[in-house]
Symmetry: C2
Subunit: 136 residues, 2 copies
DNA sequence: CAGGATCCTCTGCGATACTG
DNA sequence: CAGTATCGCAGAGGATCCTG
């Protein structure tokens, strides 16, 4: 079964090929979830927002370049893992706000470190890259 | 052009669809490179190693679960971006050691934070996930 | 407005085989 | 030992169209 389409509410299978995934591999596993660029960007934006809270469209604008699909998927994943809370308002044009949970909020400082490092050092990386490429 | 095979020494094209990628988007760009799980794992392992230095096979063992191909690709990318230094010894069975550059080393503390956060909180994420899935 | 359903295109990455 | 070269496929993720 190709399994196209967006993940229906219970997103996907959780079992890897082997259930034998203890501590060390969990690190690895979790890194895979949290490490992708969209997740980090979304968490950072929520972290910066007033009340650590933004509605869908605002979040999408802030993150920039993310498709609606990926934002949905990313947010669903954050909600599922307890990092974000979804507030749904059954208004006439529906409004949905996403808020960092305390757990999610506790991750923000680390991500901001990461972000700051990049801001401070991407030039150096760029230079190194250009030199590497020139040398062939 | 399908472009299979491993990236020849100058790894790949660097230009995105638009060259118009200034500051904010660079963040995004860099996150894509550094954010993947293998890169982080490799940097962490090198950071922990004596002299921040390990040979290829040792590194592969430490990281665990990484294919030889991905380790090569990851290391090449770290070298290209000035985060790691490749030391080649033209011995009879060749030996290659990878060492963190000062730049690469400066990133390690942040990654260790990340790692520590995961170790401290993956249980909570797990619980949240199970509950989310139960509720459907 | 928020997001589900589809379709379709890349590419990440493992498996495998070969070399200096 | 530390790669390089290929093949091949599952899955990530964009573009679109459609609703409550």
């Amino acid at each position: 079964m190709p399994e196209h389409s967006m993940p229906p509410r219970p997103p996907t299978k959780e079992q890897a090929t082997r259930a034998a995934m203890i501590a060390s591999c969990n690190q690895n596993e979790v890194l895979t979830r949290l490490g992708d660029k969209w997740t980090i960007m979304v968490l950072l934006q929520l972290g910066e927002a007033p009340d650590h809270r933004l509605r869908f469209s605002a979040l999408r604008r802030e993150v920039g370049g993310i498709s609606q699909r990926m934002l949905t998927v990313t947010l669903r994943m954050l909600e599922r893992n307890g990092l974000a809370i979804r507030h749904y308002f059954a208004e006439v044009p529906p409004r949905v706000e996403y808020e960092l949970s305390p757990l999610g909020h506790s991750l923000v400082p680390t991500l901001e470190n990461f972000s700051a490092w990049i801001a401070a050092n991407w030039q150096d990386m760029d230079d190194a890259r250009r030199q590497y490429d020139r040398e062939g």
